[in-house]
Symmetry: C2
Subunit: 298 residues, 2 copies
């Protein structure tokens, strides 16, 4: 039997995944978002739901009653809250998958909340930005019900790789990966800030290419510095979670904390607002914006 799929939280991730699932032939999808009637936010949610042929419902109860698989894709700091609010309506017939970027410890806590209802729980770590991939974004799954989850959804094109039967391994993998990806963003930002004062960026990139070939360092700088500008705030909070996870393992989060600070620096400068929410096209645009902020501060 084809499962009825529902989302808790209908933001960017849920929208793109729903759209992809529908295009791949999945039955109509249901979603509940706490902000459906919030001015501004709500309009975008309703517009996206219409575009992806997703039916919005008004309560967690309605969502649980209307679907078999519940995918939680809220903002990360709401993941535990969303699980609590759904738990009252989940039964042994439900499969609950948490797609949020949270620490292994928090995923384990959410797993306990959900399992207490009799529902099966699957941990999902989304391993790349959703928009370019849509519903085919690489997912790492964990838990005892990953086979069921995969059986039900892989046929619509979801790319699910099983990490472990224990909850936490998938989210740990994502977090430790973030040290390198977000860390490289922070490094390239600091490198370009300094090098640009000497007009030395191109030579630095040439030299990096000699040591670490296979990467177009200029293009990577354009892309990564743009990401820092647009997502600095969110990345800072994510890296604080990574730092907390390292501390819980008795590892001093030296780099993780520094990355959070470098991301916060960008967020606090208000660089994002200078680009009106768009991504800068290249790092030179960011340097120009920075020089204007500096001039305004003088």
């Amino acid at each position: 039997m084809t499962p009825r799929i529902g989302f808790v939280g209908f933001g960017e991730a849920a929208f793109h995944i729903s759209k992809g699932l529908r295009d791949a032939g999945a039955p109509p999808i249901i979603a509940y978002d706490i902000n459906t009637h919030t001015p501004g936010l709500g309009e975008r949610i309703r517009k996206r739901a219409a575009e992806a042929s997703v039916r919005l419902v008004e309560t967690n109860q309605a969502l649980a009653g209307a679907c078999d698989i519940v995918l939680s894709a809220v903002t990360s700091n709401q993941a535990a809250c969303a699980a609590e609010q759904n738990a009252g309506y989940l039964t042994a017939s439900h499969l609950y998958a948490d797609l949020n970027s949270v620490s292994p410890a928090l995923k384990q806590a959410i797993a306990r909340t959900i399992s207490a209802t009799g529902a099966r729980f699957v941990e999902i770590a989304v391993m790349a930005p959703v928009p370019p991939y849509g519903h085919r974004v690489p997912m790492l799954a964990g838990g005892e019900s990953t086979a069921e989850f995969s059986d039900q959804l892989a046929k619509f094109g979801l790319r699910i790789e099983v990490a472990a039967r224990e909850i936490g391994v998938a989210s740990a993998t994502k977090m430790f990966r973030s040290i390198v990806v977000k860390g490289l963003e922070a490094l390239i930002t600091e490198c370009v800030l300094g090098a640009s004062r000497y007009n030395a960026e191109s030579r630095v990139f040439d030299s990096l290419a000699e040591s670490i070939p296979g990467v177009n360092w200029n293009e990577l700088a354009d892309y990564m510095i743009g990401r820092v500008v647009v997502h600095g705030e969110r990345r800072a909070r994510e890296m604080e979670e990574v730092a907390a996870t390292l501390r819980a393992l008795d590892i001093e989060p030296i780099m993780a904390e520094a990355i959070a600070r470098r991301m916060d620096w960008s967020a606090q400068l208000g660089l994002k607002e200078r680009f009106h929410g768009d991504a800068p096209r290249n790092f030179r645009e960011v340097l120009v914006a920075l020089s204007k902020i500096g001039a305004a501060a003088d």
Copy 2:
């Protein structure tokens, strides 16, 4: 006329470059090293000099008297001192090239010391580890006499690229490059420390390869974590110089300082001694060594 070439400081860099120059047909090279008679150190210096057919002299004066081009390749914190000690014997017939890894400001100070003698000064930033390249290691040159330096030495295979007529651009390029290279070492170290607790390293590398293809992340981790173990102490001091350079530009050295701390962590654990000065073959050997240190501390 073929110039007579001399080194101040005859450590690893000077040895490999001399050897390569000689093999490429350069005339006999002269060197002065303050440690030539220091027990232990001195033996290695004399052995290497013999191997590269380099004649060791006993004073800065003898060196200046015996050569036209003086290459300074001392330990970095001795670069200014070596320049001072040579200055007394340099004349308008000398070309003095500083190959040490120091900040742009220190290169400029050394340039002033040397120029006051009437000698020409060239700044050289050595842009990769010397041993694998030998005398063909990429060099970035700066100053008004780079053309002369290049004319005299490129014929023996030295790879000299001119960065700028001003002193400081070449060393700035090297420093800002180090933020990315040493930073990536620090990131991968912290990433693997965390991921290994979940046996998640391979999945992290797979996921990194999906986001940043063109890099073999497992091999890079083996290489880079090995470098952290062997050169952590030196890298920490280098990154402190980078941090000071950023501060002088009014850029908060958030990542540079964190890298220095991550490198110091490795140095202070005594990991290097566990490998008796050899490079670890892979990061797993480092994890095993760490677990033994942890067990000994419990």
